[in-house]
Amino acid sequence: MRAMIIKEFRQLRRDRRTLAMMIVMPILLLVILGYAASFDVSDIPTVVAGPGADVAATALPKSFQVAATYTATAAQTGTATAWAQDELRDGHAAVAIVTAGANGGPLILIDGSQLFTAQAALRQFAAQRSGASTAASTAASTADPVPGVAAVANATIQVLYNPQLKTSYIMIPGLAGVILVFVGTVITSLGVVRERQAGTLEQLAVMPLRPADVFLGKIVPYFAVAVADLVIVLAVGVAVFGVPFRGSFAVFGLGALLFVFVTLGLGVLISSVSQTQGQAIQLAVMTLLPQVLLSGLIFPLTSIVIGVRWIAYLLPLTYFTEISRGVMLRAEPIGSLWPPFVYLALLGAAVTGLAIWRFRAFLAPGAAR
């Protein structure tokens, strides 16, 4: 046994990447989970519309971060409500307060696709209503012209897109992305390095194949599997879990295509910088883990401290989750989703370009001096 232990230590010492991962990963997890793992929502992005919207916005409690206001006359109630709904649909806010809804009273719209934020908002409103009834029973109060403490008590509250606040509604669109990362990055990363380890890459390098032939030949099967997985996940999500698909299939498909483009490129890139399948898996997991934890899939982005949140905005899954939830739950149009589309396209081009460059070097005759 002693000999075995010594052998293992020697091998471990020489496998610098594994050693680094064993040391770095716990620290990384500690930082991420410490700062990101929070379901507590302190900021609720809010828009206010209707007569006196500007004044109402200033009267809101601090946790309601007013992103925009839309001041309208009493005659423009319908327009103000439509504007508020559009703001929620396009993901600009989680709560929309219409100072005068269709029935004349205040209307509060909550985006149920932002589950934790919606729950936090509902708790806030419930607390305000409780406070309002206490105040009314102890002292006479004049009519509150804005949806302050008293107005909230009379407001109609509607939760849109996910009225029952089901977890499966927000998880399944995001999980589709995780599966694409798993197939696109983790599995693909093994494909090229397996050729290197088996010694067949050298054979490919001298065969009459262009690097593009090998590159595409390697990723097309994974692409097909990723697409099949995506379809299965969505079909099960819709059929079994009742997750709605309210938006455009084409918009969703385009977003998924761009996202797969990024994940496959990442997979090949990882493969081309890894010597062994073990190293490839380690690197792939190191890209998968932050995406699962920081993309907003589990923890709300607004709950992650700024010092760590910027990482979330670099991760492709953050944008795919935004697209998939937006399209599936809120029927968000491509016009309002262009930032994640553009980011994924740019990231995909950069990652795939780098992967092709590395791949060409991988396939080209080895360096010799």
Binding site: G199, E202, Q203, V206, L209, G366, A368
Partner: protein, 308 residues
Amino acid sequence: MTGTAGGDRPAIQWGAEAVSVSFGGLRALDQVSVAVWPGQVTAVVGGDGAGKTTLLRCVAGALAVAEGTVRRPGAQRIGYLPPDTGVYDDLSVAENLEFRSAVFGITGAVVGRRVGEYLERTGLAAARDRLAGQLSGGMRRKLGVIAAMLPEPELLVLDEPTTGVDPVSRADLWWLIARAAAGGAAILMSTTYLDEAARAAHVLVLDAGRTLAAGTPAEIVASVPGTIAVVPSRPDGVDERRRAWRRAGTWRVWQPVGQATAEVAGPTAGPSAEQGAAGLPARGLVTPDLQDAVCVAELRAELDGADA
């Protein structure tokens, strides 16, 4: 792309000229040249770490050279057997050959005919549906050779095609190699078997990345200076020991030109009444073959290095 031709050699010549390759601080090849002519086999021999694989990789195009020149046909016309056979363990024998055919654009009845013939000749026909990873080492090697030959290339680069293969299969593989050469292929192969190298038209002897000898087997044998004596056991003298090697149950001692007779006499060689022209014991002298010539070349390199 054509090179110089000499004598009755065909005009087109593939190979490497003054090629040097380093890996880190290690000089794997140092100004090595090798030529391969259509219809002929050139064998590269040498001990472990001599640079055989590196040279073959350079010629096949799997390794770039910063120094020297490599002449080879286009990838469509090269067949290459890498050290680890280059076959996919998780594909069957037939699927491996199907893949290779498709990459080289071999289609239709030609594929079936060639594959059938090669598999039959090498005894792999019964294993055509077995995964390559489930084959024995020798069978995988044969599969690798077949795969390299399948496109009937102009230049065939085979890295130790017969290593680990049983004698019968070796004969089968040599039949294939000879047939490819007869069909006009230029064949560059490395081998650790000097009896195989002796069958080649040209031999290159490498040691530690340097050329020790090159030419036809006869030329290399003829270039051995001095004589070689057979003794039944290892010589006693320090100097003789450095020039001795074991072969087939006896020892052979290389005697450089001008060495005294006594220096080569082994402890049990017994007295010899007959003396050779150079003062050597005529009894026990052998006519060197390629194996002896290569051993002498390696000993000379070693002794020269030690003296330097």
